[in-house]
């Protein structure tokens, strides 16, 4: 009897694992993204912790120079490609289709493939620690230090193929979300009625589609150089090392906005909801996002002022870079104006969204300073830039991610996170972050370059570096409180109900968590803040409940295709053509199945509760 029960339980676990492996539901894929990226965020954070521990005092010998370069490379690569970007994609998956009143994304299978490719890239990159050493040429991976002549170990191959596989997955996400938003909005959801988070998802998708191809090309060039002996970056054979820099930053600067625009969207939702007011200046907010996105493609050389492109080129990029401050300023002012005259509720989500405003202004203003080419000759590659970019990516994006986590956690899980722990989480993160990174502006101005594993006591920076490390200790505590809060909420969190915040947008109009078909009856939209208006309208004109909802059936093929690429990548890294062929064969088989399989789908009838 006991054995039979045990067997049944194992079978149930197996069934659950299988259902996650084969899911094509955007909400479950969103959860997969969020769980994976949160874990990788902790990994990247641990790497940062070791970096700061090494720099706590001058001439420290905690880690070697070789280990340090792997740590800062993996920290940057993990945070940008494997943690923060996929966390944002996770939230987009979880709520964007709900916000536009859709039943799923346009291409559910492609969506699953994106996630599995991201996971494959993440596994590949992180397995490098155990298979001959992690990449060690920085997240920017400049040539020629990343070429075979100066870096013969497998680390750079892991970087090249890991980022390539995850990156192509992201590219497909961009296409998927673009089509979803343009084609699958519910009736009445015109473009200019879309929530700002949907707008930023749309524009971010465009950025992804245009920004990732130069990176893809660059990674292919480097792969050819390393595997096949071509000479794209081999100077003695006529290669050009600045080519890598140009292509990398043509991708790299839009990438910054891929990480920041969704944050703008989150802040817009959270600030409006907890000010209990419509967003101020909606049209100018949309316009600002579009202008920022356009400008982001013509500013990349501000990452390259000391490269020697000459005063004319530098001046052009100075002017375009400075121009970004105008639309960004408009957004900041609009958020403050949204709060003006409101009833500001200081929930944890709102606290994070509000603290975004001053910290992002610090990152934005130091960004304007680094745009001034002659001044940037001093800032460039110093700790001033480290401070600047962390004010943008932690003070900006991560604050928004925390706000989004507290805001949407009840919608995703059906439970509320603790507000008491939330307050500890907020204050520890805010204080720790500022103590860690504010001094780094001065550490840079006083002459400390980036990416040095050690510094002498003679620089006069021992105290400030120690202070910065103490800040990271506090920040780490804050993150641990967040982890506690999530675990606590999943186990014993209060039930949230469909609309815990008196929300304004459509995701709050359905159950928490939303049923597989999202809406029993598709919502009809009559204006911005569709759900807010609906709650206050006396009219009750409803669609009939949809009795036969057609959903795509689960499939293991996307996971199989990603597995094929993972196998092929290991084959390439360890130079085994049969393994490459086997892996690619598996992927091609998956492509074939995806093209010619006929999916009858499943017909779902909503339950009464879901139809409410």
């Amino acid at each position: 009897m006991a054995m039979a029960l045990g067997r049944a339980a194992t079978a149930a676990v197996r069934l659950r694992a299988w259902s996650w492996l084969t899911t094509v539901d955007h909400k479950r894929i969103g959860i997969l993204y969020l769980v994976t990226s949160a874990f990788l965020f902790l990994v990247g954070g641990f790497e940062a912790f070791l970096i700061r521990l090494q720099l706590i005092r001058p001439d420290n010998h905690l880690v070697s120079s070789a280990m340090y370069s792997q740590l800062f490379t993996m920290h940057g690569t993990t945070m940008i490609f494997l943690a923060v970007m996929p966390i944002l994609v996770g939230f987009m998956n979880a709520v964007m289709p709900l916000m536009i009143g859709a039943r799923d994304v346009a291409f559910p299978r492609l969506n699953a493939l994106s996630y599995w490719m991201y996971l494959a890239g993440a596994l590949l990159l992180n397995s490098s620690w155990f298979l001959g050493g992690a990449p060690n040429a920085g997240w920017f991976n400049y040539a020629p230090i990343s070429t075979g002549a100066y870096n013969p170990g497998p680390g750079i191959d892991f970087y090249d193929l890991g980022v390539q596989i995850a990156g192509i997955g992201t590219l497909m996400t961009g296409i998927n979300f673009l089509v979803t938003i343009l084609a699958m909005r519910t009736e009445g959801m015109s473009l200019m009625r879309m929530p700002l988070f949907v707008w930023t998802t749309l524009i971010t998708s465009l950025l992804i589609i245009f920004a990732f191809p130069p990176l893809t090309a660059n990674l292919f060039f480097l792969m050819f150089d390393r595997l096949a002996g071509t000479a794209f970056f081999n100077v003695p054979h006529g290669g050009d090392v600045v080519l890598w820099e140009q292509l990398f930053w043509t991708f790299g600067h839009p990438e910054v906005y891929i990480l920041v625009l969704p944050a703008f969207g989150i802040i817009s939702e959270v600030v409006a909801t907890f000010s209990r007011k419509p967003l101020f200046g909606y049209a100018s907010m949309v316009w600002a996002v579009e202008v920022i996105a356009f400008l982001s493609f013509i500013v990349w050389s501000h990452h390259m002022f000391p490269v020697g492109l000459g005063p004319t080129v530098n001046t052009m990029f100075v002017l375009t870079s400075m121009a970004i401050a105008v639309p960004t300023g408009i957004k900041i002012f609009n958020w403050i104006a949204t709060m003006w005259g409101g009833r500001i509720q200081l929930t944890t989500a709102m606290l994070f969204a509000m603290s975004f405003i001053p910290t992002f202004v610090v990152g934005g203003t130091s960004g304007v300073m680094t745009a001034l080419a002659p001044a940037d000759m001093q800032f460039h590659d110093s700790y001033f830039v480290v401070a600047h970019l962390h004010y943008v990516l932690i003070g900006g994006t991560l604050m928004a991610v925390f706000a989004a986590a507290y805001y949407w956690f009840p919608k995703i899980t059906g439970r509320l996170m603790s507000e008491r722990l939330g307050r500890w989480n907020f204050w520890l993160v805010t204080v720790g972050f500022n103590v860690a990174f504010l001094p780094q502006h001065f550490i840079g101005l006083w002459g400390m370059p980036r990416r040095v594993y050690t510094y002498g006591p003679g620089l006069g920076l021992s105290f400030w570096n120690a202070l910065s490390t103490v800040g990271v200790f506090i920040l780490t505590l804050g993150i641990l409180v967040m982890v506690m809060n999530v675990v606590h909420a999943l186990r014993r969190g209060e039930a949230a109900g469909p609309d815990p915040w008196d929300g304004r947008t459509l995701e709050w109009s359905t159950a928490s968590p939303a049923p597989p078909y999202n809406f029993a009856r598709l919502p009809r939209v009559r204006g911005r803040d569709a759900f807010w208006e609906q709650k206050r309208s006396t009219e009750r004109e409803l669609w009939p409940v949809d009795r036969h909802i057609h959903l795509p059936s689960p499939t293991p093929v996307p996971a199989l295709m990603a597995l094929g690429l993972l196998v092929a990548a290991y084959g390439a890294i360890f130079r085994s053509i049969p393994v490459v062929a086997a892996g690619l064969g598996l992927t091609v088989y998956g492509i074939h199945r995806s093209m010619f399989d006929v999916d009858p789908g499943v017909i779902v009838t909503p339950t009464e509760e879901g139809a409410a």
Partner: protein, 325 residues
């Protein structure tokens, strides 16, 4: 010029010897002025925005039991035009000197009196005074008060030349030649280091600019052109013989001798330099002994191998290298 001269010039040690906020030449000063201007304007922006934010947050904090929205204003044309125009004006104020400086700080096409070819290596600086026919490493001796032209390139990966008190960064790209100029207003030693990640020794790739009077500079050049070739002491003589036998000369050059290695730093006048190992250690016999005993232990990634020298070989080589003046 001997080490005593260099030591005498050092003066009181600075609290931040590598600070971009303590400019000591016209290039760094222009950059510093722009840093100051932008810092003041940006602090003003930060204070104004944060004050508006904090006032709004406090004034409109919800009181218990009052959740009805107070107003639903979501547009104000004049306000929006205002906060578009004001930042635009502030940007123009910063853009004008930025563009002016970008051109003004570019070196002219015709080189000036002293021009130095700076070649980056993993992990040291080769310094060729092209018109004076002198080559040295890691310590750039210049006459103060004069514009010095630099042309920069790399023998391997990308490096970046950064001596914050004299000038911001210029990259050293393999296969390309960049130009820059520096000038030191007063005699002294100006600390700098490589600013582009270049490998395991990146953190230890220091550069020192030693600014001296015209007369001292002329004497230094003369000394480098006509170095003392045969050492005086017997120990140093033995060191010179070993230099050719144990492998030193396959990488290092000493002018006036038969040692013409090309891979490592030039050692002509090494006894006069203030530091060894790309500025990581001060130039004392004790440090030199430690260095010769095992270079990669002091500089991770150093291409100079541990030659497994005996104690007496190290003593002799130390005496020889210290005698190179």
């Amino acid at each position: 010029m001997g080490p005593s001269v260099i030591a005498g010039m050092a003066g009181a040690p600075l609290r931040y010897p590598q600070s971009a906020l303590a400019p000591a030449g016209p290039v760094a000063r222009s950059e510093f002025q722009l840093i100051q201007l932008s810092l003041v304007i940006m602090l003003g922006v930060f204070v104004a925005v944060t004050a508006a934010f904090a006032y709004t947050a406090v004034r409109y904090r919800s009181r218990p039991g009052n959740l009805a929205p107070a107003s639903a204003v979501d547009e104000n044309r004049r306000l929006e035009i205002g906060w578009t125009l004001v930042p635009l004006i502030l940007l123009v104020v910063m853009a004008v000197p930025t563009v002016k400086d970008s051109y003004a700080l570019t070196p002219p096409d015709t080189p000036r009196v002293v021009d130095v070819r700076v070649i980056g290596h993993q992990f040291w600086w080769e310094l060729q005074y092209t018109r004076l026919g002198v080559t040295t490493a890691n310590e750039l001796v210049i006459p103060y008060g004069r514009k010095i032209d630099l042309s920069l390139t790399s023998a391997d990966v990308i490096h970046s030349f950064w001596v914050p008190r004299l000038a911001g960064k210029t990259d050293l790209n393999p296969g390309q030649l960049n130009t820059a100029w520096i000038q030191a207003d007063r005699p002294g030693v100006y600390e700098g280091q490589c600013a582009e990640y270049c490998g395991l020794g990146h953190a230890n790739m220091h550069i020192r600019v030693v600014a001296v009077t015209d007369r001292e500079f002329a004497r230094w050049v003369d000394g480098m052109r006509h170095p003392r070739v045969t050492p005086a002491s017997a120990l140093a003589k033995r060191g010179m013989a070993l230099f050719g036998q144990v492998g030193c000369s396959s990488c290092h050059t000493v002018a006036g001798t038969r040692f013409h290695g090309q891979l490592g730093p030039e050692l002509t006048g090494m006894g006069n330099r203030a530091t060894i190992a790309a500025g990581t250690l001060t130039n004392t016999p004790a440090h030199l002994r430690r260095w010769l005993a095992n270079p990669p232990a002091i500089l991770p990634g150093s291409t100079m191998p541990d030659l497994h020298l005996t104690g007496s070989q190290i003593s002799a080589l130390t005496a020889y290298v210290e005698s190179l003046r």
